[in-house]
């Protein structure tokens, strides 16, 4: 993106669903335009002690009324009544890139906010994990426009969305060991009650919450699909009140807090422990990374294939922010918990198949952005990664380097030679001669064609080579 393009205000394509509140990005600023109705809700929120409390606790994104606004295109259904400016989230992520514990913490935050909002005479108009972002390992609610005035006597409008995007994905992971990430990546609206019901066995229905939140919920939805009855009015006249919502929230909080994901087996969970890498190689690798981050002083670092986050932590000592990505969800889940305990706010752990990184999704493929569109790295660490992407994922070596070159990032990249025990194991699963491009000579030729190689170092085992490369100007 050119400097001029970065300064031109553009609509955040993922923010169109709520007609009373629309987000713009302008010269690095995150601005939110409000309709008259949106402004009334903001005034209610900002004048309540709850707002200051939530921001101080780090649970709600810092927000102020915006001054010196750029010219913004008309994007609301009605006239623009006011504009807000939000603190910038260092790197945007989506629920299909989170681990179980991350989605659970986001769900608990959503429920806590609904509960506290109700007690302050407000409500949250929706319930989507896309309203939650992570700063390091801390979930932050970003949609200030979600708060609205409580309408006494009305049920919780966001309950269905909460089930589809938070509760059911968590239940499937905890009860069935079904990873929710592909489901959420496959459907931006989440898992509908009737689909979730079909995935549960009779035995599952005996579990806490299954009967009401899934089975009866699905049954009622099916039964009332075609109805014209004004159920909201009927409930109101029958005495429905906020205490019922609060009771539901309390039960959901209890249910979700107790959910645990116990995966059957994880590919790399013991990788650092069982790997054939010698202590000396591991030490040299860490030193190599340290030297590069000290010399290059990168702002944003991606650690691709981060494993337990050893090199991400080294990078975080000097970099502004590190996005640590690994295919193994269990490893990343453990990393997330560890980072939370350490109070680490500079490393964002994400899970993703690096041979199939997150694409653009949603309306016109723009609502949810591909990974590189959310901020290209200044430095990408690709340690013990390329053999997995190239041999297991069948991505040609040259194309993997093309992808990195496209982001104009510097690299620390490790090439495990075909003699490396892990490479041999991966190649054994393929036909003989299946990966002719996987050799050191071709890798170096491809790397040199695309980058300026600053230096390289053969590790003491002789089976792995490290390279520091910079993008061509």
């Amino acid at each position: 993106m050119t400097e001029q393009e970065a300064k031109t205000p553009r609509i955040e394509p993922g923010s169109f669903r709520d007609p009373d509140s629309r987000v713009f990005i302008s010269d690095g600023r995150v601005l939110r335009l409000l309709s008259e109705l949106g402004l009334a809700d903001w005034q209610k929120l900002s004048s309540s002690p709850l707002f200051a409390e939530l921001v101080a606790e780090g649970k709600l994104v810092g927000t102020k009324e915006a001054s010196d606004l750029p010219d913004l295109p008309d994007a609301l259904h009605g006239a623009v009544a006011a504009a807000l400016e939000h603190d910038v989230i260092p790197f945007v992520s989506y629920p299909y890139e989170w681990t179980f514990s991350m989605l659970r913490d986001a769900a608990l935050l959503q429920l806590e906010l609904v509960e506290r909002a109700i007690k302050a005479g407000m409500m949250l108009k929706d319930s989507t994990p896309y309203n939650v972002q992570f700063v390091g390992a801390r979930p932050v609610f970003i949609d200030v426009g979600s708060f609205e005035e409580l309408r006494e006597g009305e049920p919780w409008a966001g309950y269905r969305q909460f089930c589809m995007l938070f509760l059911y994905p968590l239940l499937l992971a905890a009860w069935k060991d079904i990873p929710f990430q592909p489901w959420l990546r496959g459907s931006i609206a989440g898992i509908p009650p009737q689909e979730c019901r079909k995935l549960l066995s009779r035995r599952d229905l005996l579990r806490r919450g299954a009967l009401t939140h899934v089975a009866l919920h699905a049954r009622l939805e099916q039964r009332y699909e075609e109805t014209d009855t004004d159920v909201k009015k009927e409930l109101k006249t029958s005495g429905f009140n906020k205490e019922l919502i609060l009771a539901n929230i309390r039960r959901l909080r209890k249910l979700i807090a107790k959910l645990e994901w116990k995966p059957g087996g994880s590919e790399w969970s013991g990788y650092e422990l069982t790997t054939t890498y010698s202590d000396d190689d591991a030490k040299r690798k860490a030193e190599f990374v340290t030297e590069v981050v000290r010399s290059d002083k990168p702002g944003l670092v991606w650690d691709l294939g981060c494993n337990e986050g050893h090199h991400a932590r080294i990078a975080a000592e000097t970099a502004d922010y590190v996005v640590a990505v690994d295919t193994d969800t269990l490893v990343v889940d453990r990393l997330y918990s560890a980072l939370g305990k350490e109070g680490q706010s500079k490393i964002l752990p994400l899970t993703m198949d690096l041979a199939d990184p997150s694409p653009g999704l949603g309306w016109r493929g723009l609502e949810r952005k591909p990974l590189p569109d959310r901020g290209s790295p200044d430095l990408a660490l690709c340690l013990a990664l390329i053999h997995h992407v190239s041999i297991s994922g069948n991505v040609p070596v040259a194309e993997f380097l093309d992808w990195l070159q496209g982001m104009k990032t510097a690299l620390v990249i490790e090439f495990p030679t075909p003699e490396d025990p892990m490479v041999r194991r991966l190649l054994k699963r393929k036909r003989v001669g299946d990966h002719p491009d996987y050799n050191r000579g071709w890798f170096e030729q491809c790397l040199e064609q695309r980058f300026d190689v600053v230096r390289s170092e053969v590790l003491s085992s002789g089976e792995r080579v490290l390279y520091h490369a910079r993008p061509r100007a």
């Binding site: 049920p155 009866l216 009622l220 009855t229 409930l235 009771a247 539901n248 039960r251």
Partner: protein, 55 residues
């Protein structure tokens, strides 16, 4: 006072009704009252304001 009658997301009729069951003991009274009203409506007894108009 601006009072919109609908949320921008589809709350789902079934998802609203199930909230009578997720609301604990206090919800039982609402269930009874709603069904009692439905029975009265079915029998054509009761005050006119209790009759729902289709939305």
């Amino acid at each position: 006072m601006i009072q919109p009658s609908l949320a921008y997301i589809d709350a789902g009729t079934g998802s609203l009704l199930i909230q009578m069951l997720t609301g604990g003991v206090a919800a039982a009274a609402v269930v009874l009252k709603m069904y009692w009203r439905r029975i009265r409506r079915f029998l054509h007894i009761g005050k006119p304001e209790e009759t729902d108009s289709p939305s």
